[in-house]
C-alpha cells in the first residue's frame, strides 16, 4: 500500500515537472518557407564613378549622369549626382543649378542664411552665388541639373 502511494507520488511529481517545463517550452521549430514569389531578372547598370570636386577634399563628390548640348536654347545641359558628406564644402556655382535632395538631408549656408533641405526638397542655386553644402547626417545625395551657355554662342 505504502509503495503504491510512493509510486503515485513519484508519478505526480514527474507530471509536475513536465508541466513546469511545458510552461516555458519553446514553440516548435518552424523555419520552413513556402516557394518564393516570382521575380523577373534585372540587368544591373554599371555603378557610377564619383570623383572629388576640386577643393573639397572629397567631402563633395560627383558623377555626371547626362550631358547634352541644347542648341535651340544655346545651352549646355548637365545632370550630375553628388555625394555630400558631413563636412562643409563649397559648391561650384559656375552655372545655374537646380538641386534636388535624393537621399538624406542637407544643410546649406548662403550668406547669413542657413537652411535644412530634407529629402525631396528642390531649390535653385544662382550662378556666382556662394553656397556651402553639408550633410545633416553622415551622408546625403543630391541631383544637380545645370544649365550653362554654350561657349562662343
Amino acid at each position: 500500500m505504502k509503495s503504491s502511494r510512493t509510486v503515485q507520488s513519484v508519478l505526480l511529481l514527474f507530471g509536475s515537472a513536465l508541466l513546469f517545463f511545458a510552461g516555458c517550452a519553446r514553440a516548435e521549430v518552424d523555419e520552413e518557407a513556402p516557394p518564393e514569389p516570382v521575380r523577373h531578372a534585372q540587368e544591373l547598370r554599371p555603378p557610377l564613378e564619383y570623383h572629388a570636386v576640386e577643393g573639397t577634399q572629397g567631402a563633395l563628390r560627383q558623377a555626371v549622369l547626362y550631358s547634352q548640348k541644347v542648341p535651340p536654347l544655346a545651352t549646355d545641359l548637365e545632370v550630375r549626382s553628388m555625394l555630400v558628406l558631413a563636412r562643409e564644402s563649397v559648391l561650384p556655382t559656375d552655372r545655374e543649378t537646380l538641386v534636388e535632395v535624393r537621399a538624406g538631408e542637407v544643410w546649406t549656408v548662403s550668406g547669413a542664411e542657413r537652411k535644412a533641405h530634407p529629402t525631396g526638397d528642390i531649390w535653385l542655386i544662382s550662378k556666382g552665388s556662394h553656397v556651402t553644402l553639408k550633410a545633416k547626417g553622415e551622408m546625403a545625395v543630391v541631383r544637380a541639373i545645370s544649365l550653362a551657355p554654350i561657349p562662343g554662342r
Binding site: 514553440a27 513556402p34 521575380r39 567631402a59
Partner: protein, 559 residues
C-alpha cells in the same frame, strides 16, 4: 483518505509549478523576447476600457533620473530595469506596491562594496570619457535582458562603458536582479583604443550566451567593423566561436541594433553601412566578404551566414543601412524576418531552414543574396541601384502580433515625392498585413502627433506608441497613444493610402482613386501627455505599461 490529500497537495504544487515555470507576463528584454516581437502575448488586464484609464498620477507613478533614457525598459518580477544614457546609472525601480516608482537599487551603488566585489565596483558612473560622440550618448543606451541562469543568479544583463578601464572600454555587465550586486563584467568587447562602441545594441539571451553587437563610437568617423559577440553567461568570457564580422576588408557593417533569435535558435542581425561612399579614404574595392547594410541569418553553432539580404548594392551605399533591430514573426504564411532600413523600406524574408540560401535574381557581382518575400513599398527589382536610398531616418523597429505588423516605414517613392508631399513622414505608423499581397499590404495607418513615432508595442490587440523627436532630450510634452487594432474596435475614419506604383496627388477621401486604396484609421482608445521624447518600446507587463523618455522620465502607467 491520505492518498486524496496527497493528490490534492501535489496537484496544487503542480499548478504552481506550471504557472511559476514561466513568468509569462514579464518583459524580459528589448522587444519583449528573443524574437523582438514587442508583443506581450499574456496580457489580460489591459482591454479597451482599462487602457483608457492608464495614468501616472493616481494608481501609476513617475520616476525621474535627472538624465536621459534612450534604452527601453525591461520588467521582471515586479521591478523595472533601465540604464541612463547620460548619467551612466543603471536603475532597478519598484514596478508596483507601496514602494512603486522608488529605486530598489542602483548601479554603481552610492557606496562602493567592501570588500571589493568581482567587478571592482566603485561609485563611478558607467560613462565613456573618450570620444562619446555616438548619439547613443556616453552612458547606457543598451536595454537590459533578464537571465535566470547566470552563475546561480537571476541576473540583469546590459552593455555599458567601464569607467575604470581605459576611459570606458565597452563590456557586458551582469548584476543580480534582486540586489544589484555585480556578478561579472565581461571581457572587453569595445575597447576605447579601437573605433567601436556598444551603442544601442541590447543583449539577446540564447544557448547560455548573451549576444550583442558593436557600432562606430563616433558615427562613421571613422566607420568601424561591425561585429557580433557572444558572451558566456556562466563567467562573462567571450566565446571564441564568435565574433561575426560584417566585412573582411575596409570597415563597415556596424551593428547598431539588437540581434534576434529565430525559432531554430539561429541569430538574425541587421548591419550598418559600408565605407564605400561615406569615406573618401575607403578602398574603392568591394570587400570579398560584404555583409554591410544587410539583414542576415547566422548559424549559431559557427557564425556562418545562412542567408543575406542586401537590398541596396554597396556601390549605391548612400547610408540606407539598418539601424532598427530585426524581428521574427510567426505567421500562417511561415516565419518571417522583418526589418526596416533607414530609407524606409520594410523587407520581410522567410527565415527558412538549412542554408546557405541565395537567389540570383536578387544578387549581384560578388554577392549571393536572398530575395525578400515582400517589401513595403513594393520592390519588384532588387538590389536597388538608384541614388534615392539614403539616411532618411527610419530607425525605429516595429512590433508584430502574428501576421499583423506595426511599423513606421515608407520608402522614398511612397512618402517623399515632391511636389506631392516633399517631406519624409516619420510619424506615420503603418499596420501591414504580413501575409497579404502587395496591393493589400496596408491594413491601416495612423499619424502620431509628433515629429516621429517611437517603437510600438502590442498586447491584447492594443498598440502602444509614443511620439519621438530624434536627439531631443528636453523636457517637452510628447503624446503617448493607445490604439485599438481595427480587428478589436471597428474603425470609423478612413483615409487614402498609396501602396504601390507611381506617385500621384492624394485625392480627397474617403473615396480614393488613381490607385489609392481606402484604409482605416484605428481608434485611439487611450492618450497621455508625457514629458520627453519616447523613442523606445513601451514595456507591457503585469497589467501595466512602462514608458521611458529621453528627458529622463520613467513612467509606470496603471489602469
Amino acid at each position: 483518505m491520505s492518498t486524496i490529500r496527497e493528490f490534492r497537495g501535489l496537484s496544487l504544487v503542480a499548478a504552481f509549478l506550471l504557472l511559476a515555470g514561466c513568468r509569462q507576463d514579464n518583459w524580459m528584454m528589448y522587444g519583449h523576447d528573443s524574437s523582438h516581437s514587442a508583443h506581450q502575448p499574456h496580457e489580460k488586464t489591459l482591454d479597451v476600457a482599462a487602457a483608457g484609464t492608464l495614468n501616472f498620477t493616481t494608481t501609476g507613478w513617475v520616476f525621474q533620473s535627472g538624465g536621459s533614457f534612450v534604452a527601453s525598459p525591461t520588467v521582471y518580477d515586479g521591478t523595472v530595469y533601465i540604464g541612463d544614457g547620460v548619467t551612466g546609472i543603471f536603475y532597478a525601480v519598484h514596478a508596483r506596491g507601496p514602494n512603486q516608482g522608488k529605486i530598489r537599487w542602483r548601479y554603481p551603488p552610492a557606496v562602493a562594496p567592501s570588500p571589493a566585489d568581482a567587478c571592482g565596483t566603485t561609485t563611478t558612473p558607467l560613462l565613456l570619457s573618450v570620444g562619446s560622440g555616438n548619439p547613443s550618448g556616453p552612458g547606457i543606451a543598451s536595454s537590459a535582458a533578464i537571465s535566470d541562469d547566470v552563475a546561480g543568479h537571476t541576473a540583469v544583463i546590459f552593455g555599458a562603458p567601464d569607467p575604470n578601464s581605459n576611459g570606458g572600454d565597452g563590456r557586458l555587465w551582469a548584476l543580480d536582479a534582486q540586489t544589484g550586486q555585480c556578478i561579472w563584467k565581461s571581457e572587453v568587447i569595445a575597447p576605447t583604443s579601437g573605433s567601436s562602441k556598444i551603442g544601442y545594441s541590447s543583449p539577446v539571451i540564447a544557448h547560455d550566451h548573451a549576444y550583442l553587437g558593436v557600432s562606430a563610437r563616433v558615427p562613421d568617423a571613422p566607420i568601424t567593423v561591425g561585429q557580433l559577440f557572444a558572451v558566456r553567461l556562466s563567467d562573462g568570457k567571450k566565446d571564441p566561436a564568435i565574433p561575426f564580422s560584417a566585412t573582411n576588408g575596409p570597415a563597415g557593417g556596424g551593428i547598431w541594433s539588437s540581434p534576434a533569435i529565430t525559432p531554430g535558435g539561429h541569430l538574425l542581425v541587421t548591419t550598418g553601412n559600408s565605407c564605400f561612399n561615406s569615406d573618401p579614404d575607403c578602398s574603392p574595392n568591394v570587400p570579398s566578404q560584404d555583409y554591410t547594410m544587410s539583414m542576415a541569418k547566422l548559424d549559431w553553432h559557427n557564425n556562418q551566414i545562412l542567408w543575406q539580404l542586401q537590398p541596396v548594392a554597396i556601390q549605391h551605399d548612400h547610408d540606407p543601412d539598418y539601424a532598427a533591430s530585426p524581428m521574427v514573426a510567426k505567421t500562417h504564411c511561415g516565419t518571417l524576418a522583418i526589418g526596416v532600413q533607414k530609407d524606409g523600406y520594410v523587407h520581410a524574408v522567410h527565415v527558412r531552414s538549412g542554408g546557405f540560401h541565395s537567389n540570383p535574381l536578387c544578387s549581384y557581382a560578388g554577392h549571393n543574396l536572398v530575395c525578400p518575400h515582400w517589401s513595403f513599398p513594393p520592390a519588384p527589382s532588387l538590389p536597388f541601384e538608384d541614388d534615392s536610398h539614403g539616411d532618411t531616418r527610419f530607425i525605429r523597429p516595429g512590433a508584430v502580433d502574428h501576421g499583423r505588423v506595426y511599423i513606421t516605414g515608407g520608402g522614398y517613392n511612397l512618402t517623399a515625392i515632391a511636389p506631392y508631399g516633399g517631406a519624409i513622414i516619420l510619424n506615420r505608423l503603418y499596420s501591414l498585413n504580413a501575409c497579404g499581397e502587395d496591393h493589400d499590404r496596408v491594413r491601416w495607418i495612423y499619424d502620431v502627433n509628433g515629429a516621429g513615432a517611437g517603437a510600438p508595442s502590442v498586447a491584447n490587440g492594443l498598440i502602444y506608441v509614443g511620439a519621438d523627436t530624434e536627439f531631443d532630450t528636453s523636457a517637452t510634452p510628447h503624446d503617448f497613444d493607445v490604439l485599438a487594432d481595427t480587428e478589436v474596435v471597428k474603425a470609423t475614419k478612413f483615409v487614402c493610402s498609396y501602396p504601390q506604383g507611381p506617385p500621384a496627388p492624394i485625392p480627397p477621401g474617403p473615396v480614393c482613386s488613381a490607385g489609392f486604396k481606402t484604409v482605416p484609421v484605428p481608434e485611439r482608445v487611450g492618450h497621455l501627455t508625457l514629458t520627453g521624447a519616447i523613442p523606445g518600446h513601451p514595456a507591457i507587463a503585469e497589467g501595466r505599461v512602462f514608458v521611458a523618455t529621453t528627458a529622463g522620465y520613467l513612467y509606470g502607467l496603471a489602469p
